[in-house]
């Protein structure tokens, strides 16, 4: 296992799943239960897909950002402020999100 991206651990936990990169509202429907939501930053309109996601990874934001606050409320693992998560991760890639350490790792 190797580290693909690093960021600020905003809500703890470790989970594996399939990446879904969300860039616009048109991508929302791609996120299914248990997927890993990867996006530049979250906003309130993403509430339903955030509830489906097994983990959330954002390029921007800190510990008081929308993604961080909502993830902590749900108890969903979340890493924020990765800077380049949406570029380094690929759609449907299976990864491990270690939100205790703030790393997104390859699997296998």
């Amino acid at each position: 296992m190797s580290v693909i991206v690093k960021g600020i651990p905003a809500s703890q936990g470790k989970v594996r799943g399939k990446v879904i990169i969300v860039k616009t509202q048109k991508d929302y429907k791609k996120v299914k239960e248990g997927d890993i939501l990867v996006t530049r930053h979250t906003d309130p309109s993403m509430v339903l897909i955030m509830q489906r996601a097994a983990a959330i990874v954002t390029d921007q934001g800190g510990l008081t950002s929308h993604a961080a606050v909502v993830s902590r409320e749900m108890g969903t693992p979340c890493i924020v402020g990765t800077k380049n998560g949406t570029k380094k991760l690929k759609d449907k890639q299976v990864i491990e999100v270690d939100a205790d350490k703030g790393t997104v790792n390859t699997v296998g």
Binding site: P44, M50, T64, H66, V70, E73, K83
Partner: protein, 271 residues
Amino acid sequence: MKVVNFYRKILEAYSPEDPFSYHGTNKMYNKEEVSRITKRLKWQQNNPEALREVNKLLASLASITYAIYNDFFPCLGREFHGPYDVSKAFGKGTCMISRDYFNIKPTHLWKHCKNYKYKSVNVLGIYRNLKIKFDFWGNYISLDDMNRKLLYYAVIVDGKQASTPKRIKEISEYLAKKTVEQVRRVDRMSFEQTKLQFQKMAESFFKEMYDAAGIDWRPTREMKEKIKGKKLLKHFTQWAEGRIITPKEIKRGKRILDPRINIHYDKKVPE
């Protein structure tokens, strides 16, 4: 100094035990109130089905609040407070946390909110041996798995308890729907309309105090004229674009704000 001391007195009135959250707490209830709450409510035991719905409700609440107010602040419709010692009622090492969304129907800011079904939702949780800290902005940080440490919960909606996961799900789904509508409403606003709305929001922070003093809290015509046709300051435009803060700005921020607050800048979660 008079103004600073005035604000200090407000904080001390609201949270006498730890007004600046220096000790990591934010206590709004006194001991009698805590005792009354623990006795009055029908506490529901944590279980996987209920936890799933309570967590979704919390996400919906955070989202609708952010959509309405564009941020999370105690003066903007929500206050997280605690931890309250409830060991007499629930056993050694137990504490209560309140996530009080006291105004998710701010008709003074958005007229359409008058059609919203719910005004206030308070999600109370009883936890065992929970390590948690509150900061002076009303956020909390816990290094524990709060889901695992939750023993009981109670959801109060406009003063009435919502007891079943089905009812909680109904409220959560309604709020999520209203969130999406609100985001679309804000997206449709022009830049000038957005500036005026933000100005109104900022002036509303002390609405209750202004109302008590019989003063109109709303921005004056002069204040509105001041921002008409103007661009945002460069710094704030960059902030809005999600620029990563530089070390120089972190140093300046810590000089202006509470230097103990590392969580907004450092990559480590505080101990």
